[in-house]
Symmetry: C2
Amino acid sequence: MAALQIGLLLFPNLTQLDLTGPLQVFSRIPGAKVHLVGKTLAPVPSDTALLLPPTIAFADCPQLDVVCVPGGVGTDDLVGDAETLAFLRRQAEGARYLTSVCTGSLVLGAAGLLRGYRATTHWSALDDLAAFGAIPDRGRVCIDRNRITGGGVTAGIDFALTLAALLADRTTAQAIQLMLEYNPAPPFNAGSPDTAPEDVLKMLQERMQGARKRRAAAIAQAAARLDAETETAA
Amino acid sequence: MAALQIGLLLFPNLTQLDLTGPLQVFSRIPGAKVHLVGKTLAPVPSDTALLLPPTIAFADCPQLDVVCVPGGVGTDDLVGDAETLAFLRRQAEGARYLTSVCTGSLVLGAAGLLRGYRATTHWSALDDLAAFGAIPDRGRVCIDRNRITGGGVTAGIDFALTLAALLADRTTAQAIQLMLEYNPAPPFNAGSPDTAPEDVLKMLQERMQGARKRRAAAIAQAAARLDAETETAA
């Protein structure tokens, strides 16, 4: 049986749980070959103490059946990175599913791969999606044809189980869920802007102001570049 | 302000999400310095394609405030590893919290650090805890004095948020939860033996038979060694 080729993109300053949640689920899909794809094989810093060594470089990466782009502050740079966007466009031609977690969807967007597609992202970035012609969706997991996008960070686990059921079957996905004892019981009900205490949301929004401004600037630039490319191509 | 020293143990064949869930949460605690502690600095293979480079070796590790042992099939070897057990006992003398995720609690048990303590682990390993004098607890997160243990794999996120509230405060833990959009919505209700469809549970139990036998043998040996050491010391 030909392996199911699943590739997760590595890049500097990704939020490591965006990557490692889906990685855990994908690795338990029978017949799946999971790649951690970097520009080169040089280990990549995450947003934590964990350094992430790629298993394969862009140049050697086979055609993937599933492309998954995690998120994190590193996507501010990635939306303007021509080499990465070209890699994603090339892979998109033959991939069965183009997927993302968190702000990874902004990178798919910057590559022009979400035009006219519903997509989700981290709650703080939903408004940024429209710049790339995507239709922001508040779902935790958003499926539109072969684009499957997950919300912020931990939504990657729900996204990956959803995809596992599509790639294998429901029983396989449930067995993975049981093996990972994914029977969540958060100690607080603060995981969404709709449920978090008001002071917590306010504190976080104030703390994120600088980061959101930097993201908005990066998105504006990337969207302008994408529009210019599209006009040139038309 | 002196940093809060948090150390997560790295060892071959750990289940990477046992580690990376808590790592994500701990890394967002203000003032926390998070270490990935290996026997040496050599990168350690996980149960997935992800290789895990330690940030510090046993010999150079400062006294930790929090010791956290993740789980995975690698704990079969770890419960018999004198160097690791000695490291944990040494750290236990000055640590504020001794913690674990999944079968990591079996390693704390093998080090003699759970005698008379309630503790939890992966659902498939609950019965193994008693061999080390621990009192098995079916909670997803179990707190008994300064021992805090989490259930299987994804329970590490609930465990870590619980601990974040103890180390910092409730507001800080809630802000981390909101930042990580931890508002779980599993696509299936199969995350516990109590809720999983019967055929899924049965399939998994059959598939795990070999692994459970190997674990039982490792635990029996480790418990005998611990009892012998205790008698010698008495």
